[in-house]
């Protein structure tokens, strides 16, 4: 079971968010796909993560209110899935695959290098908020091991030199 640290939310994070017209249009597109409103929880949470950056307690309350669920129910869904960010993420979230093929085909070396280069461990962010290191389970790209997912994108067949080039480029962008 995945476990997450419980962090006290700031007063701003507790503030219920509002959905603008663009969001409402996308929600209106989503609802007819399912016979229940509850089924729209996962896709709506995805929309919110895209729009607000993370799933704050205020987002949970807004999603619950919009779909007629209790905040507790929505929170239960959020906490089950690993990809909903329950704290503001860094600009680039480095999700390193730690499972079998990746682990034995260079993944361990990548992790050691990342920890040294960034000075952080799994679950931590760099002080400038640019990089966050996360150890994840199988990403389903074992033929291209080792693999890192950075935000939405897969980076495959990596070695330390390729990874450094990617990090340099990303650091330069921010």
């Amino acid at each position: 079971m995945s476990t997450r640290p419980i962090v006290a939310a700031s007063p701003e994070a507790l503030q219920i968010v509002t959905f603008d017209a663009t969001m409402e249009a996308r929600i209106a597109e989503l609802l007819p796909r399912y016979p229940t409103r509850r089924a729209a929880i996962l896709p709506l949470l995805w929309l919110c993560q895209e729009r607000f950056g993370w799933i704050s307690p205020g987002v949970v309350r807004a999603v619950a209110a919009r779909l007629g669920e209790s905040p507790a129910f929505v929170e239960g869904v959020v906490s089950f899935y690993t990809m909903y960010q329950t704290a503001p993420p860094a600009r680039y979230v480095l999700q390193v695959c730690t499972t079998l093929s990746c682990a034995w085909c260079g993944g361990r070396e990548l992790v050691a290098h990342l920890k040294e280069r960034l000075g952080i461990s799994f679950g931590e962010k760099t002080p400038d908020g640019v990089f966050q290191l996360v150890g994840v389970q199988c990403l389903g790209a074992c033929g291209e091991a080792p693999v890192i997912q950075i935000n939405d994108d897969y980076y495959e067949n990596l070695d330390i030199a390729k990874l450094d080039a990617i990090l340099d480029e990303l650091a330069g962008r921010s």
């Binding site: 869904v77 909903y84 730690t98 093929s101 034995w104 033929g143 997912q149």
Partner: protein, 437 residues
């Protein structure tokens, strides 16, 4: 063999509907609409197509379980949650030939008279979810999906539903819960999804690769499909090879080839001139096979006879430098993380296995540990849990302990005792009499 499912790999602009149509795409869908649902199901039944997601259940039979007289809606769900370690075949199909999936979804929906289909794709596959959405939009534009498909009077909506990071949602009933907007907790069966599925309605759940086979069966016939492979193990299969091989990748081969042929010929053999030590034949949930078992045939029945399973066809290869205790530990970490937590034997068992294996790896193993691991595995498998995740960690771990026990014993022989920590006394609870805290 001539590529069937991967025929578009390497073709330029292979994802577009124009390319797909030029290669005879959607002919199966047109033919199916003319045949009628029962004839389509019979064709798939006769082809002896077995589910490619892991269980190997005959697809046509699964379809035939949907009650004929059900008054309400029915649903077709395409399982694209591909999360079994070592498996990356569905992504390959979607990457090169997404319309093959859409066409398979359409034909299967028609066969079970479902007007709505969901493609459930793992949350990490952002790119492949977009590819599928684009393909569905193209198909809708051309009238292959939507209201009154090709003037047949049949309506079909296809929606992509993204998961959000949970291996368990590849289990079909957990997947249905996830579509319904809930935590991915597997359901007790029966009732089976074909009777009570998503939103309480009859639902068929098929894997991407299974559905991708369907258009070919309709166009070329059941007899053609059944002529590939072995009796009861028919058709082409995608094998994913990863780990210590020269050419990792996805290979399309008839069921019944040997693992030796897959590993040595197609994947180019073990890399660096090293020797094969062991391999998972069908994802990490399948009991491990040793180098001596490499001549086993890669199909459902031959793998079952060898005490393992073909699973999803994800072959993970280990060379002779690998310590099997580390492999067992890595497997335990995966399942301890992915157990949904609903059933005690799986939630606790996977965690205990992980703790014991971590301790052995840290050099503090105890002589009783191998037997303790086997005992935990026995109590977590064979029907002790709602879904097969209990078996999914217990079977590979116990197979590693049984087949490589000497490696565990060697580590334990040189182990030092774990430094004794003082038991913490909880501030709100006095010592429990009789437990000596």
């Amino acid at each position: 063999m001539e590529p069937v499912l991967l025929r578009a790999r390497g073709v330029s602009d292979s994802r577009s509907i124009a390319t797909y149509l030029a290669a005879g795409g959607y002919e199966g869908w047109k033919k199916a609409l003319g045949m009628g649902p029962d004839a389509v199901t019979k064709e798939v039944l006769d082809s002896e197509l077995r589910g490619r997601g892991g269980a190997g259940f005959p697809t046509g039979r699964k379809w035939s379980f949907v009650p004929k007289d059900h008054p309400g809606p029915r649903y077709l769900v395409c399982n694209a949650d591909e999360s079994e370690p070592g498996t990356f075949k569905d992504r390959e199909i979607i990457e090169y030939d997404p319309h093959q999936v859409v066409e398979g979804v359409a034909i299967a929906s028609f066969a079970i008279k479902a007007n709505t289909a969901y493609i459930y794709i793992r949350g990490e596959f952002v790119r492949w979810a977009r590819i599928l959405e684009d393909a569905i939009a193209e198909a809708r534009q051309r009238g292959f999906v939507g209201k009154n498909v090709m003037g047949s009077g049949f309506d079909l909506d296809v929606w992509v539903h993204r998961g959000a990071g949970a291996y368990i949602c590849g289990e079909e009933t957990a997947l249905l819960e996830s579509i319904e907007g809930k935590r991915g907790f597997p359901r007790l069966k029966p009732p089976f999804p074909a009777v009570v599925g998503v939103f309480g309605q009859p639902t068929v759940i098929n894997n991407v690769e299974t559905l991708a086979c369907v258009p070919h069966i309709i166009v070329r016939g059941a007899a053609w499909f059944a002529s590939i492979g072995r009796p009861k193990n028919t058709g082409p299969k995608l094998f994913c090879v990863s780990g210590h091989v020269n050419r990792p990748g996805v290979f399309e081969l008839p069921l019944g080839v040997t693992f030796r042929e897959i590993i040595e010929e197609h994947a180019g053999g073990v890399r660096g001139g090293r020797q094969l030590k062991a391999f998972f034949p069908g994802g990490s949930s399948a009991p491990i096979l040793t180098a001596a078992e490499v001549d086993t045939m890669a199909d459902f029945d031959a793998c079952a006879a060898a005490g393992t399973m073909l699973g999803s066809g994800g072959i993970i290869v280990f060379d002779d430098t690998v310590d099997m205790v580390d492999v067992a530990d890595n497997v335990a970490h995966f399942y301890a993380h992915e157990s949904c937590g609903q059933c005690t034997p799986c939630r606790e068992g996977s965690d205990w296995c992980m703790d014991i294996l971590d301790r052995i790896v840290a050099g503090h193993g105890r002589p009783a540990d191998p037997d303790t691991l086997l005992r935990i595995c026995r109590f977590s498998s064979a029907g002790m849990t709602i879904c097969p995740l209990g078996d999914a960690f217990a079977l590979p771990i116990s197979s590693i302990v049984n087949k490589y026990r000497s490696e565990f014993e060697r580590r334990i022989a040189s182990a030092t005792p774990l430094p004794q920590k003082k038991q913490p006394v909880l501030p709100w609870a006095g010592p429990c009499p009789g437990f000596g805290i």
